[in-house]
Amino acid sequence: MKTLTCIFSFVLLSAASFTGKAQDVPAKLNEALAAWEAGQLENARYALEEALNGINHTIGKEILDLLPTSMGDMAMVAEEDDATGTSMGIAGLFVQRNYRNGEKNASVEIVSDSPLLSGINTILSMPVIMQNDPNQKRIRLGNYKALMTRTTDDTGKVSWDIQMPFGSSLLTFRCSGIEDEATVTGLANTLQVEKIVAAAQ
């Protein structure tokens, strides 16, 4: 177990070190082309990875523009907006926006190439699995199926996770401090999921 802990710590450290700023995409593509033509494969690969990060960052900013600026009475925390072009150190898409009002908070997160995808898709395609768990149910966000999970911590505070897979990406809406399920699904349905999916895929 100690070994596992050590390895995952290394992975998390690696992930943290990869959250860079947007790259100058045209410059990186030019650099990749020059390196490729010069036979410098490793340099070409590095430049292409940087270009991909930059493209994902640009797509991430477009998605942020599609997200609401408030969730009910919770206002967005603009300084916490995140549209890094990487997730877990891989050139993928990672977008996050947080909302807060006192004890209540919510967040929207979009991750591409998420390792959680297959598990969620399995649950969504086999609803019989959820019959044994009263804290999970299938819902719809726009035209997409999603998995809604309710959790209660030791202090009795209720939290909600709504996970919506699309393609190789995962949209997650989290919310805590609100007890009423209908209120939570109403907030989640303010997301323009069709437009978000179109931008992210």
């Binding site: 390895i7 995409v25 045209p26 593509l29 690969r45 292409l48 493209i55």
Partner: protein
């Protein structure tokens, strides 16, 4: 501990290979099925060269009797970079991302083939089975670039698998290099291989397995089946030049 290390450090490497193994296993299965069909035909007294029925009566529609499969051409890197530039310039970011990924795939596949070209053609009397060479690039996901070659005789096999540019391989390499792995457990031990810290294991079913993390995010795994001793296995594995591989993969 050895199981945790291997499972965690290389599960995605192996996951990336699963598809490749599935492919080769599929070919082997088809060959085996064909051989079984021939035996059944002879047992039933059917003549060789008999034309198979064009349609399986249990399945409506026509059976496929020809076709060359899918092409395995390496994506054109120049063209895809230019397409990415054009798409990005016209704010078509999805196409830009697709083309950039294709270009990256092309670069990695080229790197993989160059590494294969520089591997020995035979080792300890085992000939390279070049038709089973594998290069798999997952582009920008956890597993990175995977390269594989097999050397085989009638009763021996040596399989080399290289993983490169993978986040989790990087973590495994750092862990091994950190000195935390110092104990010797049954069936495995820590050794030095061409100046790199490595792990060698022995299992009655799978034989010897040598794992050598190198550079920042690479690993070489050599599996030897039916090698008489650790010394014989290490002599064979020693024919692979890690420093040369590092250069070709752009590792430090």
């Amino acid at each position: 501990m050895k199981n945790y290390l291997l499972i965690t450090g290389m599960f995605l490497l192996l996951a990336g290979l699963t598809e490749q193994h599935a492919l080769s296993q599929g070919v082997l299965r088809k060959l085996r099925e064909k051989a079984q069909d021939e035996i059944i035909k002879k047992a039933l007294g059917e003549e060789e060269g008999e034309t198979p029925p064009a349609q399986d009566p249990s399945r409506p529609g026509m059976s496929n009797t020809q076709g060359g499969g899918l092409s395995t051409e390496i994506p054109d890197v120049d063209e895809n970079i230019r397409l990415a530039q054009t798409a990005y310039g016209s704010k078509n970011y999805r196409d830009a991302r697709y083309s950039a990924r294709q270009a990256l795939l092309g670069v990695e596949m080229t790197m993989g083939h160059r590494v294969l070209e520089n591997l020995p053609q035979s080792i300890s009397g085992l000939q390279a089975v070049t038709e089973e060479d594998q290069v798999a690039s997952t582009g920008v996901t956890l597993t990175g670039l995977i390269i594989e070659r097999v050397y085989r005789s009638n009763d021996q096999e040596l399989r080399i698998t290289l993983g490169n540019n993978s986040v989790l391989l990087s973590a495994t390499g750092m862990y091994l290099a950190s000195g935390n792995v110092t104990t010797t457990e049954e069936g495995q031990k820590i050794i030095q291989f061409q100046g790199h810290r490595a792990v060698i294991e022995y299992d009655d079913h799978t034989g010897y397995t040598l794992s050598v993390p190198f550079g920042q995010s690479s690993i070489m795994v050599v599996n030897g089946v039916n090698f008489a001793s650790e010394e014989a296995m290490m002599n064979a594995a020693g024919k692979f030049d890690i420093n040369n591989m590092k250069k070709q993969l752009g590792e430090q």
